[in-house]
């Protein structure tokens, strides 16, 4: 940005409380026209709350939102849409069993009573040509990858003639390549088509490469704003946490007499559509070992995770834990200390409407001291333990009785982490553990996983982030088209070879 453009959207002195918890304390954010503005902050800093106040999803207790110099009464997201402010939320909001076109058309704030589908489709096709991404319009949402879904969410907003586009962690479920593509296109649009973009992210790389300005929040307070060319990642990191960052490197202790804990033999699994997702997959994981599975998303990782977690039945093949056939029953999970950190924790491992305390108790609610006299719940013990875990794992929540769905994305992740890692673990299954976490939390989770490994846990790590796998694994496998196609160790890994196998060549 060469000339300084005027502000198009200003949120001034916003404060917002949820009960006891002060989510935002006098925060100001000013977005310039035709620019990309990044909003940074730790998990639970209040980023989502701030943009939800701007969108009218929440009403701020104090403060006002100016849009194009005028104070606007935005009392619901509908008002914001009509003004030309669009938002892509942290979680997907597409209707899964409808097509891309249907999702896009139905999202208009003013829908006619009767939709003339043929006319709408023709119009949509015409307008799609001006869009930065192309997606097959008649594809059902369920058939899309995370990256494609995110593109649909963005297109949905752009087609509404959005002037201000707010993106809440649009890249946390994307691979770095996908993220670069999406953000690059958005940056170009902001310059060429006068689009103003506010983007929440945890990745400094994205801020440095694609944003013009940046605002940092810490614990609900405004820390500062700057032009991106005047800051650097270490400065931003220090602004986020309030002090210098000291990186403790991961300690990998050599494992003494490893024994095979987890064995998968010739596993065949079909996906929801009945298509084969895993075509005879075999692997084994030893105690005190992290085996990483790298691959482009949609090559069978999700189905592998679901089978292991008991969410999907295998077609054939066997899973053995501790030399016993494993059926993902509660008794077996307990006996083998088998724990799981699935991706999208709110969707896969939490009940959003139940409290943090209840969610923390999912593994142990039916055992003493949480259950007494053969099946009565001891709520006191459950709350007591929740308080301990909240403290030990630094979960930011108003209290143990808050519904877990009200927590910030990162803190939902921490809740599951606390539940799964608090006790002794023999076998740990991890899938994309760091999606949506701030850098401090990522380092923390990596430490926890490594610590578990050093205590003798067998860890199977499925991740789309190759750097994460290279950093953590003892052994690295590449999955492509439902098969393991390559095995190596991080020391001997060659990125070009791995890339080739990931791409399926």
């Amino acid at each position: 940005m060469n000339t300084v453009s005027p502000y198009v959207l200003e949120a001034i002195n916003i404060s917002k409380r949820f009960g006891e918890l002060i989510a935002l304390d006098n925060v100001t954010l000013k977005l310039r026209a035709a620019s990309v503005h990044a909003l940074l902050g730790e998990n639970g800093a209040g980023k989502s709350t701030l943009v939800k106040c701007i969108m009218g999803y929440y009403q701020p207790d104090v403060g006002e939102v100016l849009f194009g110099d005028r104070q606007q009464a935005i009392t619901q997201p509908h008002d914001a849409l009509l003004l030309g402010i669009g938002m892509v939320y942290q979680h997907f909001t597409l209707i899964p069993n409808m097509s891309v076109a249907e999702n896009i058309i139905l999202s208009r704030p003013r829908l006619p009573l009767i939709i003339h589908w043929r006319k709408e489709m023709a119009e949509l096709k015409r307008r799609m040509q001006g869009m930065p991404f192309q997606i097959p319009l008649d594809a059902p949402i369920t058939s899309l990858s995370a990256g494609e879904k995110q593109k649909v969410e963005i297109i949905k907003q752009l087609l509404l003639n959005t002037k201000v586009l707010i993106l809440d962690e649009p890249t946390s479920v994307l691979t770095p390549t996908e993220a670069d593509e999406v953000l690059g296109k958005i940056q170009t649009m902001s310059r060429e088509q006068h689009l103003s973009v506010l983007i929440i992210t945890h990745k400094f790389r994205e801020v440095m490469n694609f944003a013009d300005e940046v605002t940092v929040l810490r614990k609900g307070r405004y820390v500062g704003s700057a032009r991106v060319d005047q800051v650097s990642p270490p400065i931003l990191a220090a602004m986020m946490v309030g002090h210098e960052i000291i990186n403790t490197p991961l300690q990998r202790i050599p494992t003494t007499n490893p024994r095979p804990l987890l064995k998968i033999a010739d596993l065949k699994v079909t996906d929801d559509a009945g298509v084969t997702a895993l075509t005879g997959l075999s692997l084994s994981v030893n105690s005190g070992e992290i085996v990483g599975i790298a691959g482009v998303s949609g090559n069978g990782q999700r189905e592998l995770m679901q089978v292991m977690a008991g969410q999907r039945a295998a077609h054939s093949g066997s899973i053995t834990v501790n030399a016993e056939a494993y059926t993902a029953s509660r008794a077996q999970m307990r006996r083998h200390k088998f724990h799981c950190l699935p991706e999208e924790p709110l969707r896969n491992a939490c009940v959003a409407s139940m409290s943090v305390a209840d969610n923390l108790a999912f593994r142990r609610f039916d055992r003493p001291p949480f259950a007494v006299h053969n099946g009565l719940l001891n709520r006191k013990a459950i709350t007591q333990r929740a308080k301990e875990l909240i403290h030990r794992f630094a979960i930011k929540t108003p209290g143990p009785s808050t519904p877990v769905g009200n927590l910030s994305g990162g803190n939902v992740q921490r809740t599951v982490l606390a539940r799964e890692l608090a006790d002794e673990v023999d076998v740990l299954l991890v899938a994309n553990p760091c999606f949506g976490l701030d850098f401090g939390a990522v380092a923390d989770i990596h430490q926890q996983i490594m610590a578990a490994r050093n205590r003798g846990t067998a860890v199977l790590l499925i991740s789309e982030d190759l750097d994460e796998i290279l950093e953590l694994s003892d052994r690295l496998l590449v999955i492509s088209n439902g098969k393991l196609v390559h095995e190596t160790t991080p020391e001997h890994a060659e990125l070009t070879t791995i890339g080739k196998f990931m791409a399926g060549h």
């Binding site: 009403q59 977690a309 307990r334 009940v351 409407s353 039916d366 719940l377």
Partner: protein
């Protein structure tokens, strides 16, 4: 806190709104609205006599409501209370007829057992179909209602028919000795006690036991329940069984406390009204009690309306239907009302 406020305020507003629509209906039929509303109140809660009538009708409603409320907590929308009640009543009658002559306490207990077991099995089958074959539970439970009623008609017109019953074909009687008595000097039968006790008991099970906790996990997010290793299928089937058992007990009570023999009075619509009760009570077994009394009152006032205003018998059913639709529509309002949104310090 605002959740609790909401769950009282919204149904109340919906009830008031339903009464307004109903008033329009009454005015259209040429009656004085205020007089009719006053008569409904009079017929439901206006005197000790009408209270007794109301409570007698509330008892089966409490039980059939549980048939929808319990499975709903595990995520299944079941509308098979009518069928489970018919089956329960029918099996209780069969038991009563075949054991007639044995000590009454033994006969009555056996009738209760067979009502509970058969009603439970009836709805457990719905749960099993859902879990193992992925059959939509709402549709299968609805179809099972028709099957139950068909079986009832088949038996009371054939095998079980007492030739002495002419204008209303019925089964042989279970015998006066085997009838459930009334409470004290009232006309309220012991069924009310069953209703209250079962509602209280199941509330306790849901709120205080690990079983209830598991059910809420399954209903809240089945994936989270699976990843915790819960035996989802088994738990769903047990929940369905408990719901069906409550409705089966309602059938047994109608036989043993009111009719004394099986006939078409068994499918008088308590099962369907129970769905409404469960919805209004938001699947909370304790809330079912007052809601059942309210709906029981509306049903109880039907006779008075007929006598004083010459309004058809179905009038209260119209009111019930209006409430049903308004309550269903009001479900869309939860969590959206601005004055319930967390504002300052009261989330």
């Amino acid at each position: 806190m605002h959740n609790f406020m909401e769950s009282i305020a919204i149904p109340t507003a919906a009830l008031v709104f339903s009464l307004l629509i109903f008033s329009g209906f009454v005015a259209f039929s040429g009656n004085n609205v205020l007089e009719v509303l006053a008569a409904i109140y009079q017929g439901a809660f206006g005197s000790w006599f009408s209270w007794q009538n109301t409570l007698v009708r509330a008892a089966p409603l409490m039980l059939t409501a549980l048939c929808t409320a319990l499975p709903a907590r595990s995520g299944l929308i079941i509308i098979g209370g009518e069928g489970a009640m018919v089956v329960g009543g029918l099996c209780a009658t069969l038991t009563g007829i075949s054991l007639n002559g044995l000590p009454p306490f033994f006969v009555i207990s056996s009738m209760a057992c067979s009502g509970v077991l058969s009603g439970g099995a009836w709805i457990a089958a719905v749960g099993a179909l859902k879990h193992y074959r992925n059959v939509n539970e709402t549709i299968s439970s609805l179809l099972l209602n028709y099957i139950a009623i068909a079986i009832l008609n088949f038996l009371i017109l054939g095998l079980l028919r007492d030739p002495a019953t002419l204008n209303k074909p019925s089964s042989f009687p279970i015998g006066d000795a085997n009838m459930l008595g009334t409470i004290g000097t009232t006309s309220i039968h012991a069924g009310l006690i069953f209703g209250l006790v079962v509602c209280g008991l199941l509330w306790f099970v849901i709120r205080r036991t690990t079983f209830g906790f598991s059910i809420d996990m399954i209903g809240g997010n089945i994936r989270a329940a699976q990843i915790s290793g819960l035996a989802v299928g088994k738990l769903i089937i047990i929940t369905c069984f408990l719901g069906g058992a409550a409705a089966g007990l309602a059938g047994m009570i109608e036989i043993a406390a009111v009719h004394g023999r099986a006939n078409t009075s068994l499918n008088a619509g308590y099962g369907y009204a129970g769905i409404l009760v469960a919805f209004i009570a938001r699947y909370n077994p304790l809330a079912i009690i007052p809601v059942a009394i309210l709906l029981g009152g509306i049903r109880a006032s039907s006779g008075l309306l007929q006598r004083s205003f010459d309004l058809p018998d179905a009038t209260t059913l119209v009111l019930q239907g209006i409430i049903f639709i308004v309550i269903l529509a009001s479900g869309a309002v939860y969590g959206r009302l601005n004055w319930f949104k967390p504002k300052g310090d009261s989330p």
